[in-house]
Every structure is written in structure tokens, then in C-alpha cells.
């Protein structure tokens, strides 16, 4: 093969490989995105019950309840609490240990799926490092609250 042809072949191979890689990358990215919603947005949209989403807001005061439930012969603690953006509220169901920084009246982000309308099955309650830190999503909600004088 002439060197010129060889170079062309290498170039074609390179371009195909890169574009193939890039396509796989983007497809995989699309499939694995987790969208974030506020409780109000959750009520406005319908959701696939198998797709993970995140919901963030403030934990409503005095809404945290703990019950003992038996699943597969093991006793588990089922925690329910309400997340609010001072407009709509959503009930969260979670089995597990809450992160250390989880408190009533403070911001939280949960990850999970909506199995039944109005109930959010959380698989993960997100922890934070710093008690002063607010995820930007929740910061927006807090400003809304302050502007409307804390409804």
C-alpha cells in the first residue's frame, strides 16, 4: 500500500472510532441522567415508575415518622417524612439510616422513584458535608420562601 493511502486509512479508522466512541458516550449519558424536581414540578408532570429522579425541598416540621415493618423476616425501620417547597408537599418513604445531617426544617435531596401517585420511594437520602451548605436547588426554594414571608 502506498504511504498516502495508508495515512488515509488510518485517518478514516481514527474518525470512525472517535465518532463511534462519542455516540456511545452520549447515548449512555442520556440514559443515565437523573433529573431534579421540586415538589411543585412533581405534581405537574407524570413519571415513569422505573426512572430514578431527585426531589429536593425542606423537610416539613413534625412530619418525620418511624415505623417498624417486617420485610423478609427482618425487622426494618420505615421512615416517612414530607418534603415541601412551601407550595406543594410530597410524602417520602425511606428504609434505611438517615444521614447525620438530616433534620426537620432543613433542606434535603432524595433520590428514588414514584411508584404510586403521591408517594416517593427514596432509595437514597443525600448527605452533605457541611451544615451551612445548601444545594443550589434548595437555595432557590428558600429565597421563594423568604420573599413570600414564610407561608
Amino acid at each position: 500500500m502506498k504511504p498516502k493511502n495508508k495515512r488515509l486509512l488510518t485517518l478514516i479508522a481514527f474518525v470512525t472510532m472517535t465518532s463511534l466512541g462519542f455516540t456511545i458516550l452520549l447515548v449512555s449519558l442520556r440514559e443515565n441522567l437523573i433529573f431534579f424536581y421540586s415538589p411543585t414540578e412533581v405534581f405537574e408532570k407524570t413519571f415513569d415508575s422505573n426512572k430514578k429522579i431527585r426531589v429536593g425541598g425542606m423537610v416539613k416540621k413534625k412530619s418525620v415518622e418511624k415505623k417498624i415493618k417486617e420485610i423478609d423476616g427482618r425487622k426494618l425501620e420505615e421512615i416517612t417524612f414530607i418534603i415541601t417547597d412551601y407550595n406543594k408537599e410530597i410524602l417520602i418513604l425511606y428504609v434505611g439510616i438517615l444521614p447525620d445531617l438530616f433534620k426537620e426544617g432543613q433542606g434535603v435531596v432524595v433520590e428514588g422513584m414514584i411508584k404510586n401517585p403521591g408517594v416517593f420511594n427514596a432509595t437514597n437520602v443525600l448527605a452533605k458535608h457541611d451544615e451551612n451548605y445548601m444545594p443550589p436547588e434548595i437555595k432557590d426554594i428558600k429565597t421563594i420562601k423568604e420573599n413570600s414571608n414564610g407561608i
Binding site: S28, N32, F35, L98, D100, H129, D130, E131, P136
Partner: protein, 634 residues
């Protein structure tokens, strides 16, 4: 008084480093106005920064709450060691530490006798200019010597999560790595001005050193996350973790390439490009941590002006490096040809893989940022994305890692290589079959990855045996090969450890009554009770669990829940029983109203210990190369 002194010295650093910056800028415009000794300037900058840092440390140890940083991040009841580590347990102090490391590396470089004076001058000019950018960032946006008014009687305390030996040493190591790349950047930029290939020998030890520190820094960080956060995992694909992995990947590519560049004097431009890229990615990591633009567990409460400043800093350093590189590239085109089946070809493949992985992680990390700016949608990219890309990439990567070390320089033939390592191939096949047979009940993916990891370790072992045979013929063991064998086995161990602790882990969450036994794997975990223990500045509820295997008591694990007096914050201290076969990991949850039942979370994480051993192997491989390159400089 001490703190004022600290600020004075910081300002002096700013003034002195601005001289270098001015000189570099003026020179860029084509003038040559001032001339002074960069070496003397570098030394002065280092000592001034050191004094400033000592002043801050003294104020921390002295609990001087008139300083804003100290009043927010320390407390008079804090144990002495955490008063000390609290210096970098906050934004302002940690950037000052960053500057200190940066000026220290400049100082080290300036005292080297092996570099020609003109080249040294050129490198230090760039390095001091970088220092100027950082020190102006400190003085104008994050001054640690800011006064609080009125000064509080008591400080707010150091975040309890940071009151831990693992986290105390994690940031300095990480910074030594990140900042080490600043001198690599400076050397590369200076080399483009000076036009010589001599810089490769000077660059090499710095690359290895920074890589070792970064490896240890990342390892320490995930080790801390593993035992302190009580989530049972060691890696979460969190944006900030990813950000530290990016420069690590490009630096790993760099330390493979620099070997060819030094030996064959080819791919020199590529080496320069990787050096610049690595430092840019280190800065990007800092930007992500310090600006709070991404939703991350590491995000601290932040001031947006800092984000803007770091972004400007990142942009100017990147543009300067890229601009210089494009100019240099035009004038110094390299003409060479690399055969795929040769050592050079294999190392090039390694580079392609490392960069593809880095690119994937970069996209996954910053995509949410773009999406929120461009489409105003709030999203995050989950772990499945990273896994779905990395898992298929691992196969060619591992094959390359096994074949690469047995491939000859210049040109080789695949059949000849396979013939050379036929005993190894046979044992790898045998090993794979046995592993498959023993573990056939496990998920397929886990078996495949354990085989891949095992194959890397076996082939490294094979290489080692070959060297030993050579040794009988009185040939000295090449240090380079030892380094490569150690580092590659480290990767093998890491793959096995990561597979075990992700795919194969077992988890049990339950309400456990005092006296009740839970069985996990072949262990029985008996809950004895919870007692109150008083720590220096916290109150702890310490659970006690008997770990029984085959009716034999192995140990008693004591996971804790700590309540810190000052911040009213709670932390979880997991208790871990580590063995080669896996970790038994217990985290204590909350107590039920009846006071006899607690939520407990028990994991069995197979092979987790191998991850930490893998990191040690990687680092020691790096150490061998480092010492070797230091010796070869002469």
C-alpha cells in the same frame, strides 16, 4: 499581633510575586525592562509565605477568635492536633496551604544545581507568576487574616467530619499532587521558550513526585470516606472525586509518555501538551471544589465571587499554556512513525485509553453544569453512566497492560510476543478457568473483573520471575521494571478490590434488638448493647457487637454515633473488621422509642483491603521511578 504580621508577610509575597508577573507580561509584549535574580525572589517569596502560614498556624493553636476563619472553624476545646489541622480545614487556610506548597516547590527547584541558570530563571518566572495569581486570589477574595467583628468568646468549632486523622492528612497530600503539576506546567512553558529537549530529564522527577502525592491523596480521601461517612462504599462518582481523578489519569498518561520522550526524543510536544493539560485539570478540580457550582457532597458554603475569580485564573493559565503550545507546535513539527506492535505503540495505546477515560469522566462531571446554564434543567449524572463506559473500556486496557511490558522497543510481532509468554498465557487461562469454576455462582461481571485483575497480577509476577532468572546471570535488576511491576500489580489489586466492594457486597439493614444475632456471609453479629462514652469534645454512643464465626469469637466491633458539644452535629464512626477476604462493616443508626432496639447497618465488603494495598503498590512503584529519575538526572 501575630495575625497582623501574617497579613503583612502575605502582602509582601503579593508584591514580590507581582514583579515576576509584570516581567512575564512585559516580555510577552516584546520589551525587556527589568532584570533581577528570579532565584533570590523565589526564596524570598517562599520564606514570606512560610512565615505567613506559621502566623496563621500560631493563631489557630492560640485560638485567636478575633480572626474570622478561626472563629468559624475552631474552638478552644478542640484537641490540639485538630486545632493544627483546622488550619487547612477551611477554604482560606487551605488555599494558603496551596500557596505554601507552590512556593516551596519553586524554592526546591531554585536550589537545584543541575539546571542551567537561564532555564532556571525562565521556569521560576512562570512559577512566580502562578504564585502571584494565587496570592492575589487569597488577598482579595479569601483572606485568612480577615478580622471578625465583634470577636466572639468561643469559636463555632471545626466541622466534626473533619476531626479525623484520615482527613487531616488527605488535603496536604492532594495539594502536593495538584500543586506539583504547577512546576510541571512552568517547566513545560519555559521549555517552549528555551527550545531544548534537555528539560525532559528535569521534568521527570517532578512528574513522578506529583503523581505519587496525588495517588496517595486520592487513596486517603476514599479511605476516609469509607470509614467515616458510614455509607459502606469508597467511591461515589461525586464531581469532586472525579475532579481529582482527571489530573491523575492525564498524569498517568504523562508518566508513561515521558519515558518514550526521554529515550527516543519523540512525542516531546505531546509530553508538553499533557503537562499543561494536567495542571489545567488540577485547577479545574480546585474550581469545582471551591466555587460550589456543582451539587456535590464536598461543596461548602461559598462566596460566588471566588468562583468567578478562579474561573478567570483557570482561563488565563489555560490560554497562556495553550497559546504558547500552538506557537511552539507550528515551529517544531516532529516527524516520526510509531508501529502499533512495539513498546512505543503500546504506550501510545495506554495514552489513548487514559485520555478517553478522562474525557468520559470530564463530560459526566461538567455536563450538569452546562445543562443548568444552557437548558435550565437540573440534572445529575449517576454512577451507572461511569460504569457503563468504563466497564467495556477495561478489557482492551487490561490486555494492553498484560502485553505491553513484554513488547520490545521499535518493532515487534504479535506472534513472537505470544510465543515469548506462552507459559504465562497458559497459566492465565488455567487461572481464569479455576476462578470461574470456584465463583460460578457470583454475578458474571464480578467473575470477569476478578479474572482481569488477577491476570494483571499474574503477568507482573511472571515478569518478576523473569528478572530473577536474569539476575543469576549477574545482570542488575532494572529499577524501572520493578516500578512498572509494582504499579501494574497495584492496578490489578485495585480492580479486584473495587469489584468485590461494589458488585459482591452484601448489605443488611435492620432493627436489631439488644442480644439479637444477625448472620451475614458466614459471620454472626451479636448486638451486646450501647454505652455512653465521653470524648474530649463530644459524647459518644458506642455500640458493641460480637463477631462470631464458626462459634468462635473473632473480635468485638464498636461503631459509634458522636454528638459534638459545640455544633450540635452528629457523626457516624463505622467499625470495620478487615481481612483479605473482606471487611465486616457496621454502622450504628438511631435508637427506637423502646430503647432496646437500634437500627444497624451491616455490610460485608469483599476484598476492600486490596484497594488500599493496591494504592500502596501504586505509590511504591512511583517511588522507585522517582528515585531512579532523580539519580539519572546527572
Amino acid at each position: 499581633m501575630v495575625s497582623e504580621l501574617g497579613f503583612v508577610f502575605l502582602t509582601l509575597t503579593l508584591v514580590l510575586s507581582s514583579l515576576s508577573f509584570a516581567q512575564l507580561s512585559v516580555k510577552g509584549l516584546g520589551f525587556e525592562v527589568f532584570n533581577f535574580s528570579q532565584v533570590k525572589l523565589t526564596n524570598a517569596i517562599f520564606f514570606f509565605t512560610l512565615t505567613s502560614f506559621i502566623c496563621l498556624t500560631y493563631s489557630f493553636l492560640d485560638s485567636d477568635f478575633t480572626l474570622d476563619v478561626i472563629s468559624k472553624n475552631s474552638n478552644s476545646q478542640l484537641p490540639l492536633i485538630y486545632k493544627f489541622t483546622g488550619v487547612w480545614g477551611n477554604h482560606e487556610g487551605s488555599i494558603l496551604l496551596w500557596l505554601l506548597v507552590m512556593t516551596f516547590f519553586g524554592f526546591l527547584f531554585s536550589s537545584s544545581s543541575l539546571v542551567s541558570p537561564t532555564f532556571k530563571d525562565e521556569v521560576l518566572k512562570v512559577q512566580n507568576s502562578l504564585c502571584f495569581l494565587i496570592v492575589s486570589f487569597i488577598v482579595f477574595t479569601s483572606n485568612p487574616f480577615q478580622k471578625s467583628f465583634p470577636p466572639p468568646v468561643q469559636g463555632a468549632d471545626l466541622n466534626p467530619l473533619l476531626q479525623d486523622p484520615g482527613l487531616a492528612i488527605h488535603p496536604p497530600f492532594l495539594y502536593m499532587g495538584y500543586v506539583g503539576f504547577s512546576i510541571i506546567y512552568s517547566i513545560s512553558v519555559a521549555a517552549m521558550t528555551e527550545q531544548s529537549n534537555h528539560f525532559l530529564k528535569i521534568l521527570k522527577p517532578w512528574v513522578f513526585m506529583s503523581w505519587i502525592f496525588l495517588t496517595c491523596g486520592i487513596g486517603l480521601g476514599s479511605w476516609w470516606a469509607y470509614y467515616e461517612l458510614g455509607w459502606g462504599g469508597f467511591w461515589f462518582w461525586d464531581p469532586v472525586e472525579n475532579a481529582s481523578l482527571l489530573p491523575w489519569l492525564t498524569a498517568s498518561a504523562l508518566l508513561h509518555t515521558i519515558v518514550i520522550a526521554d529515550k527516543k526524543k519523540i512525542l516531546v510536544n505531546w509530553t508538553i501538551a499533557l503537562s499543561i493539560l494536567t495542571f489545567i485539570l488540577s485547577l479545574l478540580g480546585t474550581f469545582l471544589v471551591r466555587s460550589g457550582v456543582l451539587v456535590s457532597v464536598h461543596a461548602f458554603a461559598n462566596d460566588p465571587t471566588r468562583g468567578v475569580y478562579i474561573l478567570l485564573l483557570l482561563a488565563s493559565i489555560s490560554f497562556y499554556g495553550i497559546f504558547k503550545f500552538i506557537n511552539h507546535q507550528k515551529q517544531n513539527q516532529e516527524n516520526f512513525h510509531i508501529k502499533l506492535i512495539s513498546r512505543e505503540g503500546m504506550i501510545s495505546l495506554n495514552n489513548i485509553f487514559m485520555l478517553s477515560i478522562a474525557f468520559t469522566i470530564l463530560i459526566g462531571t461538567i455536563y450538569p453544569l452546562f445543562s443548568s446554564v444552557l437548558f435550565n434543567t437540573k440534572i445529575s449524572v449517576g454512577a451507572p453512566f461511569f460504569n457503563s463506559i468504563l466497564i467495556p473500556v477495561m478489557f482492551p486496557f487490561v490486555f494492553g497492560m498484560i502485553l505491553g511490558p513484554f513488547t520490545k522497543w521499535n518493532r515487534d510481532d504479535l506472534l513472537l510476543i505470544l510465543n515469548r509468554i506462552k507459559i504465562l498465557l497458559l497459566s492465565l487461562i488455567l487461572f481464569s478457568l479455576i476462578t470461574w469454576y470456584i465463583n460460578f455462582r457470583d454475578p458474571v461481571l464480578s467473575i470477569i473483573f476478578i479474572i482481569l485483575g488477577g491476570c494483571i497480577i499474574l503477568s507482573s509476577l511472571f515478569e518478576f520471575l523473569q528478572i530473577l532468572r536474569n539476575k543469576n546471570r549477574l545482570i542488575k535488576i532494572p529499577k524501572k521494571m520493578i516500578a512498572q511491576i509494582l504499579a501494574h500489580s497495584g492496578i490489578g489489586l485495585l480492580i479486584i478490590g473495587a469489584t468485590g466492594s461494589s458488585i459482591l457486597k452484601e448489605e443488611k439493614i435492620q432493627f436489631q434488638e439488644i442480644g439479637e444475632s444477625i448472620s451475614i456471609k458466614d459471620f454472626n453479629v451479636e448486638f451486646i448493647g450501647v454505652k455512653k462514652v465521653e470524648g474530649p469534645n463530644y459524647l459518644s454512643q458506642m455500640g458493641e457487637f460480637k463477631i462470631i464465626q464458626n462459634n468462635k469469637l473473632l473480635t468485638i466491633l464498636k461503631p459509634e454515633k458522636r454528638f459534638y458539644n459545640s455544633g450540635k452535629q452528629v457523626t457516624t464512626e463505622a467499625a470495620i473488621y478487615s481481612r483479605f477476604s473482606g471487611d465486616l462493616y457496621i454502622a450504628l443508626g438511631e435508637v427506637h422509642e423502646n430503647k432496646t432496639q437500634w437500627t444497624t447497618r451491616i455490610w460485608f465488603n469483599p476484598y476492600t483491603l486490596w484497594i488500599w494495598i493496591g494504592v500502596i503498590f501504586l505509590a511504591s512503584g512511583g517511588l522507585f521511578s522517582w528515585f531512579n529519575s532523580l539519580k539519572k538526572r546527572k
